[in-house]
């Protein structure tokens, strides 16, 4: 008998601490709730447990998760209760708090109250509550609030050993429920924040695309060039991180995305007669054209957040052997972001018709890139590019 007591004895303080820890780690509301309910069923040993959770966009509360070995298991999203349901009415109205002084509503308590001399209205409500709890096969309900808002209700089935919930268990569940509501609200806010950030990110990318389109409006030979260079650059980066088995971080990919969209932005500052000249450029015109990376830097320099992207804009015409412009950087001095754009940019230029020269076909262009690998291009990037071509992705 003594041993049995010992195994049933759970260190609730420790349980709460570990629950709190997982709440910090998990930012996905659904996963979090599932974890918590599963834990309750296991630790407190109840037939089943379920959470009715408020849905933000409606007045409904929906069974989000329901777990149990022997008891009823309601499929997620199958059942709802509306805000006029007695359970919701009871827990939303603080005037019934007297009945709920310890934060738990049990069938036992309701039956006791019904025997007392209470107002007819309250009696009706209590009977309705009993019926609702019976439907969900719950013997105890624990509400979960955030400020004054009823976030959800934890529904608990019978304990497996047939005993009543003891004070310690109930205190644990009440504390857990209040932690849970906080965690759920946090998780929901986190999700909203992520969606908001995502919206901003999309707005930013679309603004960048609009800016890039401004270049193409001016330079009629480069129609579609920006989009192609961007796609190819991202493909190279993905392949590169696969090969090196360490992935380039998301920040790098985001920067590369923006940098390749904006790599030619400086062409806005180049006179149209040079940009659209129907023939090869003379030395002076070439010199002018070679200004475009620095013009781009000047346009973007005040945007602090674009610091890394600007490296791509600035150095995408550098050459591996140090004969490029604007600074004549050599080898690995050239930032990776620029080395990638450089290959994508050159390939697209070679495979596009110009009025004064016919374009190369893809195979010829790839051959050309292989030939000048180590001279014009970083050999590592050139190799990755060739690999992508072999796989038929170009």
């Amino acid at each position: 008998m003594k041993r049995k007591n010992k195994t049933n004895n759970i260190d609730y303080k420790k349980e709460l601490e570990s629950a709190a820890k997982s709440m910090i780690l998990v930012h996905e509301p659904d996963t979090l709730i599932k974890m918590i309910v599963r834990n309750i069923v296991r630790k407190v040993k109840v037939a089943h447990a379920a959470i009715l959770l408020q849905y933000k966009d409606s007045d409904n509360y929906i069974i989000t998760v329901s777990r149990g070995r022997s008891g009823l298991k309601i499929p997620a999203g199958f059942a709802r209760v509306d805000k006029d349901n007695p359970l919701i009415r009871f827990f939303s109205r603080r005037k019934y708090k007297v009945i709920l002084d310890d934060g738990v509503l049990t069938c036992e308590e309701i039956k006791k109250l019904l025997k007392k001399n209470i107002k007819a209205g309250v009696k009706t409500l209590l009977k309705q509550l009993l019926y609702q709890m019976d439907i969900f096969e719950a013997v105890a309900c624990i509400p979960s609030y955030f400020r004054d808002d009823l976030l959800g209700i934890l529904l608990l089935g019978k304990k497996n050993d047939g005993r009543k919930f003891n004070r310690e268990e109930l205190d644990f569940l009440v504390a857990l429920a209040s932690d849970v509501s906080m965690a759920i609200r946090n998780a929901q806010l986190f999700k909203e924040l992520e969606q908001e950030l995502d919206k901003k990110r999309r707005l930013f990318i679309h603004t960048t695309i609009a800016l890039a389109a401004a270049i193409e409006a001016k330079d009629r030979y480069t129609h579609g060039h920006t989009a192609r260079v961007t796609n190819l650059s991202l493909e190279i980066a993905r392949k590169l991180s696969q090969r090196n088995k360490k992935s380039l971080d998301k920040k790098f990919l985001d920067d590369l995305h923006v940098a390749s969209l904006l790599h030619d932005i400086g062409k806005i500052g180049i006179p149209e007669n040079i940009l659209n000249k129907n023939g090869p450029l003379n030395d002076e015109e070439k010199k002018c054209m070679q200004q475009h990376p620095m013009v781009g830097v000047n346009i973007l320099q005040h945007i602090k957040e674009l610091e890394n992207c600007i490296l791509g804009v600035k150095y995408h015409h550098e050459r591996y052997d140090g004969t490029g412009y604007p600074e004549g950087l050599k080898g690995k001095e050239i930032p990776l972001i620029a080395s990638i754009i450089s290959v994508a940019d050159a390939f697209d230029a070679m495979t596009t018709d110009r009025p004064y020269r016919r374009c190369l076909n893809k195979l010829e262009a790839v051959r050309e890139i292989r030939q000048v690998s180590g001279k014009q291009f970083d050999p590592e990037i050139a190799q990755v590019f060739i690999q992508i071509h072999k796989e038929g992705k170009i």
């Binding site: 298991k73 999203g77 199958f78 059942a79 609702q132 439907i135």
Partner: protein
Amino acid sequence: MAKLLIVDDEVDVREFAANFFRKRKIEVTAVASGEEAVDLIEAQKPNLILLDIKMAGIDGVETLRRIRQKDKHIKVIMVTGRKPEEGGAFEDCRKLGISGYIHKPLELDELEKIVLKEISQK
């Protein structure tokens, strides 16, 4: 004992609904497809059918149509997710003849009431 036939392709829903009504002293058969339901009705003669609209294979509307070819009077309650595009399906079901319509997520007390009411009225 009144007989209820549950038709739903989700196993969790079948298990839950079957348990729920067995506890309410109803004889329950649960099947996973419209075909099985159509095959069963002559032998089983259920008093009421709970029929899910959205199912893999033949859907609830088609199942209802085939049931009606065999039996014009058997009571059927349609169960469905509340999607606006199912407005048309609802019209089809009404023309074929149904006793009611309940949408998921549903209220368990409403489910209990509507089923108990329909199944007790012969």
